[in-house]
């Protein structure tokens, strides 16, 4: 046996170790891709205004969109939809309004994270404009209307007649960003 052979084997194995460490990190973008394809986690899509309007509403069908709101631990907002639900036609562009009020006596920054169920339906729920696209700064005690413009794709499967759109508000004020 060549006395360097074990060292060569060890170096190959070390390279494998490094590659698997990288693979662990590669799972992060991979997971996002799989979520996009399958609609896992109800992540919602984005669409240009023009493309959304080009669809045109399918008035032969109606879909109920319900709105659900919650505030994550550590946040302090009063956060509600202006109306609990809307009936929409697939292909039409609609606007829903949410109302958030900062109940803290100081300025905070919020980030809303959307999710749609059923999972299958989330693939067809697209937004042209949303308060969740950017962070939302609030002055102390500020109350604000937060609009979202959306379209339910005409290709939404027949058996889905209700979608639930939920938003969770997270406190991402820089000082507390890591907590």
């Amino acid at each position: 046996m060549n006395p360097r052979a074990p060292v060569r084997t060890a170096l190959k194995l070390l390279a494998m170790t490094a590659a698997m460490f990288g693979f662990g990190y590669a799972l992060v973008p991979l997971y996002d891709v799989i979520c996009d394809i399958t609609g896992l986690n109800g992540k919602t899509g984005r669409i240009e205004q023009a493309a959304a309007e080009a669809q045109g509403p399918d008035t032969s069908r109606s879909v109920t969109v319900r709105f659900v709101t919650s505030v994550n631990a550590g946040g302090a907002w009063r956060f509600e939809p202006a109306v609990p639900s809307m009936t929409v036609h697939p292909g039409g562009v609609y606007q829903a309004v949410f109302v958030a009020e900062n109940t803290r006596p100081r300025a905070v920054v919020g980030q809303a994270v959307p999710s749609v169920v059923p999972r299958e339906g989330s693939l067809y729920f697209k937004k042209t404009e949303c308060f969740c696209f950017t962070r939302q700064p609030f002055a102390a005690g500020e109350r604000r209307e937060l609009p979202v413009r959306f379209v339910v794709d005409r290709r939404l499967p027949e058996h889905i007649d209700t979608l639930v759109l939920s938003y969770t508000f997270f406190d991402v004020t820089p000082d507390e960003g890591s907590s």
Binding site: M16, T17, M20, L27, V28, C35, N41, R119
Partner: protein, 535 residues
């Protein structure tokens, strides 16, 4: 390999230092194996003490002994210490002692690396155990360290992460050494398909370690940066997802359970033929079954997270893939039973543990099949049924495998026979109390008792009391084990001959007992290597 290359590869300790220095600087595979095994025994008792604190609190419903936070620390630490401190180092210890002797090599391929990989461990566990005294207490979010809960850990958090990193470095270095040894150091004539099964299962285990320990290291590093560096891998506010953590963790976690059990399969495949006085039935199928189990272990991880909300197709895939593992595992159990079939069996202590392994591990395998059924899992998930399941595969599986191996090879290590009577006492106490402890957990689990809680509903009181009594009995039995080992190492007068067991085959039994400090400095006669191939 010639003795000149052996000299190149490792220092020859003809004037080996004595006392502490011998153990600190040793590069001898037998010394390092001994260090690993003692370390593991110490961790086994520390982890066991934590288990007894858990069982004392659960002896009766209500909160008596400890506060809930500390209780959760105990379940978390018990698991981390038993998995990474007791079971894994014990198998690395057995590998160090036995693999070179079984393949006719003079030592491990990378002796200095070997010294490092052991001496990292005491530091890793000193870090982990020190968290018990920190503000905010020891980690209490479960050994799985799920985000975001684990991010609430107090000062202990970075110590937890760094200790996991160190354990990982140690395991990977150990695995690299095992593979480098097996692939490069086999004596002439020791072909791959002549290797004893313990060597085979360790080779596969070592590849599993290299494949998944780095993924765990990545996952905990992501936790660390999420907490301190502002990344948002698992934080939805920054675009991350806590469920992602579970996927990454269990990508490591499921192969990890085979890391804990495959070497025990190997030990069984050495012991059962010895005491059945027949060659192992289906040697080649054992090798292929082990490889199949290792491969399947990479594609079943999400069976630990059926309840997170997966697409139906995903649940079906992971359910069926998981059930497929029963096939190669069934092949193994069949082969062990077929080896015993019409053998001239005797029941010395190693064989008692081996037979109990086959029976009780199979029970644990069956409850695993129940958990694999997705719709049923929604009821069993996070209940004591899961606790019963994994203790049935880990205690009579991994732990009995280690104990059986220790009894089997102890005379070879010490040159003296252990007390067969007290060994059998140890076995029967362990066997009875193990079942008293863990069997009732199936029932309380099916009835809905959740795991990781310090208090429970009144209807679970009787079974929990039984479990707690069993746990103390089992703990006591392990003191008998300690006594047997101490006696065999320092006090026994009964000399063991080279072969030790009448039915033993393999190169390790051709060297004297105790095994000399250096064995196979010149390669053994290839005619001695007929044991496995003839089956």
């Amino acid at each position: 390999m010639s003795s000149t290359t052996a000299d190149l590869l490792h220092d020859d300790h003809h004037d080996k230092p004595r006392g502490l220095k011998r153990w600190l600087f040793t590069t001898n595979h037998k010394d390092i194996g001994t260090l690993y095994l003692w370390f593991s025994l110490v961790m086994f008792f520390i982890g066991g003490t934590m288990a007894l604190i858990i069982r004392t609190e659960l002896f009766q419903p209500g909160l008596q002994l400890v506060d809930p936070q500390f209780f959760n620390s105990m379940t978390t630490m018990h698991a981390l210490i038993m998995i990474f401190g007791a079971v894994m180092p014990a198998f690395v210890g057995l590998a160090n002692w036995m693999i070179p002797m079984m393949i006719g090599a003079p030592d491990m391929a990378l002796p200095r690396l070997n010294n490092w990989s052991f001496w990292i461990l005491p530091f890793a566990f000193a870090l982990l155990l020190s968290t018990l005294f920190m503000p905010g207490g020891a980690p209490a979010a479960g050994w799985t360290m799920y985000a975001p809960l684990v991010l609430q850990t107090g000062d202990a958090f970075p110590f937890l992460i760094f200790s996991i990193h160190l354990m990982g470095v140690s395991s990977v270095m150990g695995a690299i050494n095992v593979i480098a040894t097996i692939l490069n150091m086999r004596a002439p004539g020791m072909t791959l398909m002549r290797m004893p099964l313990f060597v085979w299962t360790w080779l596969i285990t070592a590849f599993l370690l290299i494949a998944v320990i780095p993924v765990l290291a990545g996952a905990v590093t992501m936790l660390l940066t999420d907490k301190y560096a502002g990344t948002a891998f698992f934080n939805p506010a920054g675009g991350g997802d806590p469920v992602l953590y579970q996927h990454i963790f269990w990508f490591f976690g499921h192969p990890e359970v085979y890391i804990l059990i495959l070497p025990a399969f190997g030990v069984m495949s050495q012991i059962i033929p010895t005491f059945a006085r027949k060659p192992l039935f289906g040697y080649a199928s054992m090798v292929y079954a082990s490889c199949a189990i290792a491969f399947l272990s990479f594609i079943v991880w999400a069976h630990h997270m059926f309840t997170v909300g997966m697409p139906l197709s995903g649940e079906l895939f992971f359910m069926l893939a998981t059930m497929m593992i029963a096939v190669p595992t069934g092949v193994k159990v069949f082969n062990w039973v077929a080896t015993m079939w019409r053998g001239s069996m005797t029941f010395e202590t190693p064989m008692l543990f081996a037979v109990a392994f086959v029976i009780l591990f199979t029970i644990g395998g069956f409850s695993g099949l129940m958990l694999a059924i997705t719709p049923a899992d929604f009821q069993y998930h996070d209940t004591y049924f899961v606790v019963a399941h994994f203790h049935y595969v880990l205690v009579p599986g991994a732990i009995f495998g280690i104990i059986a191996g220790v009894y089997y090879w102890l005379p070879k290590w010490t040159g003296r026979r252990y007390s067969e009577f007290w060994g059998k006492v140890h076995f029967w106490l362990s066997f009875v109390f193990l079942n008293v402890t863990f069997f009732p957990m199936h029932f309380v689990g099916l009835a809905g008792m959740p795991r990781r809680i310090p208090d429970y509903a009144l209807q679970f009181a009787e079974f929990n009391m039984v479990s707690s009594i069993g746990a103390f009995g089992f703990g006591l039995a392990q003191l008998v084990f300690l006594g047997v080992v101490v006696h065999a190492v320092w006090f026994s007068k009964e000399k063991a001959d080279a072969k030790v067991w009448e039915g033993a085959h393999g190169l390790e039994w051709t060297v004297p007992s105790p095994a000399p400090y250096h064995t196979f400095s010149t390669p053994p006669d290839p005619r001695l290597m007929t044991t496995e191939a003839h089956s």
